[in-house]
Amino acid sequence: MMLSNIGYYIKEGFNGILRHKAMSMAAIISIIIALFMLGSIIVFGLNVSNVIGDMESSLEVIVFLKDDMSDQAIERLDGELRNMEGIADVRYISKADAFGKWKEQFGDQSDYLEGYTAEDNPLPRSYEVRLKEPSYADDVVNALNGREGIEKVQYNSEVADTLNRLVTAVRWMGLIIVGILLVIAVVIIMNTVRLAVFARRNEINIMKYIGATNWFIRWPFIIEGAVIGLTGSILSLALLKMLYDFAVSKLSSILNMVNFIPVNDAMNIAMLIIMVTGIVAGIIGSAVSIRRYLKV
């Protein structure tokens, strides 16, 4: 790349787009579509893993205390729990709390607690321990199980396992789908650029016949590809943001348990992937597809 020619290359790159407006439009539309889909699945995937994350972190280890455990022992346990690795949050449930919860949950249906008061009842005191991640569960449960003063450590490992497997599945599927869509986006973009270059094959030939080097011909095409890729990716981002905003506003009333990722957070992650894909695919697409026409 002769430095003196940079100005010419850039000018020609933009000229190429302007001279073939219909073709450039077609290319940009294809790129918008390809990248929009890529972005959609990324944003969708981020939300799904967010939801599962919420569900996971709501899974708790419950530590039931023996009625005869002393207050000091409880205090010690409390301190230990709060320092334990992998524990996000610890909540103490007194007998009164437990009584309240029971009433709330079963109401009149059960006469089990009839005659008991909030202060004096057969329900055990307990700790509700929220984990940072389900993978800490085994350690925590093992550390507490059978300890003095502890009646029973309860952890719904079945649900946790399912969630865990779900998380793995979703991550893998997400990666695979993003991978596939990435390939699709690149193929669509390269395909489009290929047809655009094909339509200009004579032009390329003529340049070769009057002594232009391959790079002299290639640079404007590459810049053209990059500009088209950039334009397409910016437009697809704008579209994605618009539709995501809209979808969140519509869906958050229906799916009220879902905690949507704020639009900007979701965008930041999608942005990089989309822009890089768009530009790189545009560049590679144009560089690769003029190759066969340069061989004269």
Binding site: M2, S4, N5, Y8, R19, H20, N202, E203, N205, I206, M207, K208, Y209, I210, G211, A212, T213, N214, F216, K295, V296
Partner: protein
């Protein structure tokens, strides 16, 4: 300067366009290449440009063996040769000015020099008024003259013109031939494939006559033979 040694060309579809052609052109020559339609004139020009490869034989331009040129060297090699293509080959999406300017940009001419020289070239071929017209807005003869202007823009040591007067009226044709002649006087080797009997006969330059792919006559101060067909 330019030498074809035992050159034969058989196209992929089996057509023998040239068989065993030997031509030797010295620097500064002015050569007419004549012969009936399909004789192989354009084939020779394409060989000189390495647009196609000979089936056998060797081709030398500027003492370089063209047949063994590396792919990377081809563009630089082609810049030594200005060509008026029989089928014009103008860039359809650039106007006349830009078509000529492009040929100069290719060889790295500074833009100041380009801005000075393109109008000069256009006035030489009498097309100053068409600078901003696009190729499809030109008449056949005008396109032909643009191609000529492009071919001479870089002052190449060799100028090859394939039928440069085919679409021109006799007067304009003569203007072009006189221009080529002037360029030749200044040292450029000129090879002109043509059917213009009048011009060939009047110029009395070297005439190479091709027929069915072989050189049947090669004379200094020659004339267009009518009975070669």
């Amino acid at each position: 300067m330019i030498r074809l040694v035992n050159v034969s060309k058989v196209y992929d579809n089996g057509v023998t366009a040239l068989s065993n052609v030997n031509i030797n052109i010295k620097a500064g020559d002015f050569v007419f290449l004549v012969g009936p339609s399909g004789a192989g004139k354009t084939t020779i020009i394409k060989l000189l440009l390495k647009e196609i490869e000979p089936t056998s034989g060797d081709i030398f331009v500027n003492d370089k063996n063209v047949t063994v040129l590396k792919r990377k060297e081809i563009p630089y090699f082609r810049r030594n040769i200005g060509v008026v293509f029989q089928d014009f080959r103008l860039l359809p999406d650039r106007n006349v000015y830009d078509n000529i300017a492009f040929a100069m940009q290719v060889v790295g001419t500074p833009s100041k020099e380009i801005r000075r020289r393109v109008p000069l070239m256009l006035s030489l071929v009498n097309l100053s008024s068409k600078a901003y017209a696009y190729p499809n807005e030109l008449s056949g003869g005008e396109q032909q003259r643009v191609v000529l202007a492009r071919a001479i823009a870089n002052n190449p040591p060799v100028l090859i013109a394939d039928e440069p007067t085919g679409n021109l009226d006799p007067d304009t044709g003569w203007d072009i031939v006189n221009l080529l002649s002037e360029i030749n006087r200044r040292g450029t080797t000129v090879i002109m494939a043509t059917h213009a009997k009048e011009i060939v006969d009047a110029m009395r330059k070297r005439v190479i006559i091709l027929k069915k792919g072989t050189v049947i006559s090669d004379q200094e101060k020659g004339v267009y033979l009518d009975d070669v067909k």
